[in-house]
């Protein structure tokens, strides 16, 4: 079932956190929960190991740095798990960077953005992503990783 781990070459994914996510667990815990970014990363790492893939982590507060990182994922990683934070809602540059990277990207959010301010209801990056997962706290990342790994959870095709 875990085909990704059974092919000899371990697939590699990038987990990218945008602005202010380095403050997780320290700011607005009512919205974002008490978990730190480091503890979420540890969960993702454990899930990756279970799924037989490898992951690397990147966080930046800078839009330009995120664009550069995503560009450089081209041809290097099998997919990107991206929580772009507030840039989600207005960064055309990030959207173009995702398109240019030609790498499947899954958009994740800790909170349910549709329960919040109207400006958060629109995602500029969603149309160029594979899909979106939001509202499940730190578990959004776990679901996002499972979503990225195509071979998993496909009982209807077997």
């Amino acid at each position: 079932m875990l085909a990704a781990g059974g092919r000899g070459i371990m697939k590699h994914y990038a987990v990218v956190h945008g602005p202010n996510l380095n403050m997780l667990g320290k700011r607005e815990v009512g919205i974002y929960g008490g978990r730190t970014m480091e503890s979420i990363n540890a969960d993702v790492e454990a899930e990756a190991r279970k799924l037989g893939v490898s992951v690397e982590f990147y966080q930046s507060n800078g839009e330009g740095e995120l664009v550069t990182f995503i560009q450089q994922c081209r041809g290097r990683v099998a997919g990107i798990l991206l929580n772009a934070g507030a840039y989600t809602h207005y960064s055309v540059a990030l959207r173009d960077g995702i398109s240019a990277a030609s790498v499947p990207v899954v958009e994740v959010h800790i909170s349910n953005i549709y329960k919040r301010e109207a400006f958060r209801h629109v995602s500029f990056i969603a149309p160029v992503c594979l899909g979106q997962i939001c509202g499940f706290g730190a578990y959004s990342y776990i679901l996002g990783l499972r979503a990225l790994i195509e071979e998993r959870l496909d009982p209807w095709t077997s």
Partner: protein, 145 residues
């Protein structure tokens, strides 16, 4: 054992026979089989239903409390305009996860808004039939993370 209700809305009974480039080749029965297998793995129960009628979905949601621990809903086109469905979800006092097979944000503008999303725990969109399985993972995990 936790038990979850899975509701698919209008036209989902036609999965596999229409717009397969958007919705994929598998049928709704394939999805239900996949959910059953995943539920067995997770040690939970699922009951899967499909309705074309808005009223029937509302009836089903209203009777879910006490029988189920949560709901997965793919309301199809109703997601984008059914305030009656939104009220029913808001009233039912059970966690609800909204799913879409396609990436609704990559499609027509009227599909970019879900009137149900604000009363759901969260949304999973764009992963084909896998969206349902991930929603089941999410519901089964609620309260434990």
């Amino acid at each position: 054992m936790k038990s979850f209700l899975v509701i698919s809305g209008p036209n989902m009974n036609l999965l596999g026979t229409r717009k397969t480039s958007i919705y994929g080749e598998g049928s709704l029965e394939d999805i239900h089989r996949g959910l059953q297998a995943r539920a067995d793995e997770l040690g939970v129960a699922v009951e899967c239903r499909q309705f074309n009628g808005e009223g029937e979905i509302i009836d089903s949601l209203q009777s879910a409390l006490g029988r189920f621990d949560g709901v997965i809903i793919n309301a199809g086109a109703l997601a984008h305009y059914s305030y009656a469905l939104r009220s029913a979800i808001g009233a039912m006092l059970l966690p609800c996860v909204e799913v879409f097979i396609s990436n609704v944000h990559a499609r027509e503008e009227f599909r970019h808004t879900s009137v149900l999303a604000p009363v759901c725990v969260g949304v999973i969109a764009g992963f084909g039939k896998k969206s349902y399985l991930l929603a089941l993972d999410a519901l089964a995990n609620l309260g434990s993370a």
